[in-house]
């Protein structure tokens, strides 16, 4: 305890070096936190995207390189509804990057009545009844400054906005719905859907239904839970992997940075360690002191980094232009991991300097002075 208090005094006594070391660690940790938060947010959004909110199961074409390139025949819907446990199924065509100047708006082609769109709460207007009409989410309305009576252009097709809805799913609230046939026409996929969301009968286990559907339609991928959605959500996965790479890099680069700073400190403070050795401190006690100093400094850095990371994550999605459909998801586990990495940086970076400090020759150093 006393050793720790003395170590803290030592850290406080060198504010410049402590600050620079801490800030180096903080930047590394902030990057990790921001990437983990954005990655988790992207994964969560991907989960919502593939489940499309209310469905229990989502069907995609097997081995589709990107979910939006999935192609399924709408004729399978009737057969699907005959599978035991399936209550209802509907077709969705997804149009991505088809709203000029607003690539983030996802357009859903859907029939005007199904278990998905029935959940829409209209704050203005109503559901479309004509092939030249569209409804937009309240997020889209706010973002594009559109209202009922305005025109939404989807790949050169002009549609009159007849309703503004809120459904509670980020992708859908920042998107738009248009008639299924119109979407099929725009995509050049008459009689086809991108995905088929399925609602199950009450009491049916998703895993049971999944088995039955796969048996009946071997060419489809059946997603039953968010993990599987995440597996298919390549972007979220990519961000997570990037976060892992950054974490490893932060460990290595941060560790080297801390080691370099601590090593300089040990060289500067050789007479201090020589004195400690002369008054009876063992090599292990001196090494421990240096190691604790490193960990305390990087812990301070990690704490600052957590704060910067949380703030940075929100700016990151804005800079990436993804704030409409990805909101950073900051979990205790992500923060804990980042903190752990900070402490690991301190330990790894402090090992060699600690060893050097423990082996300072008091005879040589004290004689030099």
């Amino acid at each position: 305890m006393t050793s720790l208090i003395q170590t803290l005094s030592s850290v406080r006594h060198r504010p410049g070096r402590t600050f620079l070391t801490a800030i180096g660690t903080a930047l590394g940790i902030a990057t990790i936190v921001a990437l983990l938060a954005v990655g988790a947010g992207a994964q969560r959004s991907a989960g919502e995207f593939f489940h499309l909110g209310a469905s229990d199961i989502g069907l995609f074409q097997k081995d589709a390189s990107d979910p939006t390139t999935s192609v399924l025949p709408t004729s399978m819907i009737k057969q699907l509804e005959r599978v035991p446990g399936v209550a209802s199924a509907t077709a969705f065509v997804l149009l991505v990057e088809d709203v000029p100047h607003n690539p983030g708006v996802v357009v859903f082609g859907s029939t005007p009545r199904n278990f998905q769109v029935d959940r829409m709460v209209f704050s203005a207007g109503h559901m479309y009844t004509d092939r030249k009409e569209a409804v937009i989410g309240n997020g889209t309305a706010k973002q594009l400054h559109l209202g009922v009576g305005d025109t939404l252009t989807v790949k050169h097709r002009k549609l009159r906005i007849v309703g503004i809805y809120h459904i509670g799913v980020a992708y859908e609230d920042t998107g738009a719905f248009i008639p299924l046939h119109v979407a099929q026409s725009i995509a050049g996929r008459q009689g086809e859907a991108t995905t088929i969301p399925v609602a199950l009968k009450v009491g049916t286990r998703p895993s049971q239904a999944k088995k039955a559907i796969k048996r009946r339609f071997p060419g489809v991928t059946v997603l039953t839970d968010s993990d599987e959605s995440i597996r298919l959500g390549a972007n979220g996965d990519l961000v997570s992997k990037a976060a892992l790479v950054i974490a490893v890099l932060a460990l290595v680069i941060g560790g080297i940075g801390v080691m370099n700073t601590e090593l300089m400190a040990v060289i500067e403070r050789r007479s201090e360690f020589a004195l400690l050795s002369a008054v009876g401190w063992s090599g292990r006690q001196i090494a421990w002191r240096v190691l604790v100093e490193g960990v305390v400094t990087t812990f301070i850095g990690a704490a600052i980094g957590l704060l910067l990371g949380v703030i940075g994550a929100h700016y990151l999605v804005k800079i990436l232009g993804a704030s409409e459909f990805v909101s950073p998801h900051i979990t205790a586990w992500a923060l804990g991991r980042a903190l752990l990495i900070g402490v690991l940086i301190g330990v790894l970076g402090g090992l060699y300097p600690a060893w050097r400090a423990a082996h300072v020759s008091p005879a040589r150093v004290l004689a030099q002075h």
Binding site: M1, T2, S3, Q6, S9, S10, R12, H13, R14, S271, E272, A274, L275, L276, S277, A278, V279, G280, W281, S282, G283, Q285, P362, A363, L366, A367, H369
Partner: protein
């Protein structure tokens, strides 16, 4: 607390080709205050470092009581339990208060907080700096720092005090205070004290002197010779 008996037998120390100490032998009785005099570079500091296990002799033996210093498995423990060092530069840690600096050997020895506080305060009292317990070294005068360094050397209740030019960086008034302290250490604590010094006042304070010339012991000598060696 009894002082330590120090016996050096045929001690030599070589650094590469340079023979810094050459066949030095002497015996110091418990409780003696002995001066180690000689010109700069004569080998005084090296001899103190060998006695305090900061270094090892190339040949010869050193015994402090029944401890063979050159064969220590844990020299840090020996320094902690048996020896107290005072250097020409005080070597106080700048981030620690005067009291915390005194406690450093006790922290190494895992002495409990209450006892550490009690011992360090008693020592602060003894060196006349009770009111400076919380002061940082930067806020102390040169003489005060050296008194704190003496207190630190006494904190572990050592049997042997090794002081290397303890007054070398002090003015005459502060140096007189330090000499008084070292004499008190011998008188009140019973410790054996070996002081390497150029100080002209050496003769007034020590029981006897060991004179080193070019790494060889040439004493004991009379006052005239001592004065010549110091000059």
């Amino acid at each position: 607390m009894a002082g330590a008996r120090v016996v050096a037998a045929h001690v030599s120390r070589r650094y590469g080709r340079a023979l810094v100490l050459d066949d030095v032998s002497f015996e110091i009785a418990p409780g003696e205050l002995v001066a180690l005099s000689g010109r700069s570079g004569s080998g005084k500091t090296t001899l103190l470092q060998l006695l305090g296990s900061l270094d090892k002799p190339t040949s010869g033996t050193i015994r402090v009581d029944d401890i063979e210093v050159e064969h220590l498995a844990a020299p840090a423990q020996f320094r902690r339990d048996v020896v107290g060092f005072v250097f020409q530069l005080h070597y106080l840690l700048p981030s620690l208060s005067a009291q915390q600096n005194i406690e450093l050997p006790l922290v190494a020895a895992h002495v409990g907080r209450a006892e550490r506080t009690q011992r360090s305060r008693a020592l602060l009292e003894e060196v006349g700096l009770a009111d400076r317990a919380r002061a940082l070294p930067a806020d102390l005068s040169g003489g005060e720092r050296q008194r704190i360094a003496v207190a630190r050397a006494l904190a572990g209740r050592p049997r042997l005090i090794l002081a290397d030019e303890p007054t070398g960086a002090l003015d005459s008034s502060a140096a007189a205070n330090v000499w008084k302290l070292l004499t008190d250490v011998r008188d009140n604590h019973g410790a054996t004290v070996i002081v390497a010094s150029h100080d002209q006042a050496l003769a007034e304070h020590t029981d006897r002197a060991l004179h080193i010339v070019d790494g060889r012991l040439v004493g004991p000598a009379d006052t005239d010779e001592r004065a010549r060696v110091i000059a």
